[in-house]
Subunit: 426 residues, 2 copies
């Protein structure tokens, strides 16, 4: 194994803590992922990516920086990767998936803050996220109250925090707000990168990101098969790697995985027996290495066949139409694409409910597990009406509210198993 200590030191990481973090991550990965039976060969690529998640990939970011490319970090699917690629930048999703240094985070944030936000602060204060430390710009978006206000506190801690405002409704005015924010983001990107976005560079970027989305959409569609050719855990991992891997290489790896899975489907070769209880997980995003709920579900005789989540279909199901011959026209298409995202911060947000129903049907799921992070008001508030409507449509729904800690794992498992019994009788 390559020794990356020097690189990590140069990024200002706390080496000792970071070593401990990586060791913990490695063990969790072995226990949760490598212990799975009959995994697709194609997952080997993702195993490698994960083993080098703070190593080789960071080295690549460092090399990109040396070549004069900018690294743009973000915490939300509303930040268009297309625009970053159009200035030849690298877009990376930032670490917010582990319960790390919450004591530190709570010196700056209220206790009643969701784990995702606490995690972002824990990583920053603990100096263990090489992605965060590599960034030239970090984009904070005004989605929920928690993130919106937390970015005010994060500002002084990082080099260049850029705030992107977002609308809260789906009106025409709201769409203009979004386009204007994307226009301002282009200005920011051009300034930090010293490169101008052209219609050609933007079109190329759109096509590149579309290809990446097409690949994960292909994976999502394959999961309709019974027996399931791939576990929910492995599929989630692909969706997580989506946010920080090289887009071209990632696309290629996902398509290879899909080639293999299609053969599996043809041969009725599954990772779980045919007839295993199938569920959709819907709700808050699960950032790397948040594998808690999928692990509990798939070790309780269930299989997850789809994620209605920003790390899942909500993040990738829409393509950007390659339409227009000017930057402004392409920006219209990009705005149209992102304006579809049905995050619970929007009001009202009926398309999310409709899509959960659609996913349940097309992926032949028997029920929905609604996942809310504790203190995530938008998803928790939406979960009640969503549950009511799904049950009314004959789709059994289990609402869970949890954090990144493992204290409630037993309780959750009991509830998941009971829900599984209910689904079996269906």
């Amino acid at each position: 194994m390559t020794d990356y200590t020097k690189m990590w030191e140069s990024l200002g990481l706390d080496i000792k803590t970071h070593d401990a973090l990586l060791a913990g991550l490695g063990k969790a990965y072995t226990d949760i992922f490598l212990s799975q039976k009959n995994r697709p060969e194609g997952m080997k690529y993702f195993d490698f990516v994960m083993s080098e998640v703070h190593g080789l990939r960071i080295k690549e970011l460092m090399d990109a920086k040396e070549q004069g490319r900018v690294i743009i970090g973000s915490y939300c699917v509303f930040v268009p990767e297309e625009l970053v690629l159009a200035v030849d930048g690298v877009a990376v999703g930032l670490c917010a998936g582990a319960e790390f240094n919450f004591e530190g985070a709570e010196t700056l944030l209220p206790r009643n803050t969701c784990s995702l936000i606490k995690s972002a602060f824990g990583f920053k204060l603990g100096k263990v996220c090489p992605y965060l430390e590599s960034c030239d710009v970090i984009v904070g978006e005004n989605t929920c109250d928690g993130k919106k206000k937390a970015y005010e506190i994060m500002g002084p801690l990082v080099k260049d925090l850029y705030i992107m405002d977002l609308p809260q409704t789906k009106s025409e005015m709201a769409k203009s707000v979004l386009k204007e924010e994307y226009r301002k983001f282009i200005e920011k990107l051009e300034k930090v990168s010293g490169k101008k976005i052209t219609a050609a560079s933007l079109k190329k970027a759109v096509e590149l990101v579309n290809a990446k989305r097409r690949a994960v959409k292909r994976l999502a569609a394959i999961r309709a098969a019974d027996p399931a050719p791939i576990s929910g855990l492995d599929s989630l991992l692909v969706n997580q790697v989506f946010f920080h891997d090289d887009p071209v290489r990632f696309t290629d790896a996902v398509n290879k995985l899909c080639d293999e899975l299609e053969v599996r489907v043809k041969n009725h070769n599954g990772v779980f027996p045919k007839g295993t209880t199938r569920v959709i997980v819907s709700g808050c995003p699960m950032a790397v290495p948040n594998w808690k709920l999928p692990f509990l579900i798939e070790s309780s005789n269930g299989v997850i066949v789809g994620e209605e989540s920003c790390v899942g279909e909500r993040g990738s199901r829409w393509l950007t139409e390659v339409k227009g011959n000017t930057v402004d026209e392409l920006l219209d298409a990009i705005t149209d694409r992102y304006f579809n995202i049905d995050c619970a911060v929007f009001t009202p947000n009926p398309s999310r409910l409709e899509y959960i129903k659609e996913m349940t049907k097309k992926l032949h799921a028997k029920g929905v597990i609604h996942y809310s992070l504790q203190f995530c008001q938008p998803y928790i508030m939406e979960s009640g009406p969503v549950e009511k409507e799904l049950e009314k449509s004959g789709i059994p729904t289990l609402r869970l509210e949890t954090d990144y800690g493992m204290e409630d794992a037993g309780q959750l498992k009991t509830r998941i198993e009971a829900f599984g019994e209910r689904l079996k009788k269906k």
Copy 2:
């Protein structure tokens, strides 16, 4: 006392529960307000208003309805009373200040929802708010995530819920969003009232609301005197009545009160001894009958000399400039006025911090008590940086987080008393 049972029945109130609520309210009012010593004579008007809060005032609303006037209810200072008055409507703030029927509210809302929102639902489900039941339209505004998403759940429970979107930043684009929302609100008001807003009717309305604001601003300024000529409790009550009383009568009553207080100031006649520890309360709004914290402070040898709150200076300190000769020009002035409001849902929100400092200075307060409702993410998130900055400026600050229940009253009192000791040594 007039018997209003028939009127309440006609509004669909649950008479038995409502009687119990009023009895409880009356007792609390007697214990908290009428027990105060050396109260200004001018508070008699407000005692009367409170004794008739669900009686005479509702009768007036019923009479207004009979005359063809519309009743517009709201939960936020971002809903411009000027526009409602300009169609000869009546604007009323809605009940959200008491811990009533939270069990009912929690059948629809997550437990981790602030008391203000739960209260609004508790009143609606318990059928005990005659204001709510009198309304032709209820305006829900997209401020915090909690309210924004709760209105989706409230929609089916009320006759006509109108959603007003609000921006989250103070950019030029954000101001356009606000103006556009106000323009749409005019359309809505014109539709329900059947009356057109004219420059003349709008100008008159602006002047009327300005007069009301001038009166409470006058009251706010008088409180700079030591000894305090009026208690924080009584001043808060005035600010609460602001939201549902007849504006002309209210303005007159406040000005009469101020006349009396100015004489008191001249004679050094206070409700507490000179030198009583003076504090500003800053943070979440306190809707009627939320008197918990002021009561705890003023029964702990302190006096509140100002409220940095939407039910307080944040709600009333800006006047609308009477500028322009068309509805559109006046609407610009109205937008300018409301765009100043420094609610914690905005990001960033530096003017709030600056104004707390300014209030502390001009009202000769020794410290600030920051009041957050539990689960109110915007104010809780802002309270940390606000405390840090105030302390840095030499202003001792106590951060409290509480709800409408009385379970923590003893704990809060202990903390307030300890804070008082700290201020005395200053």
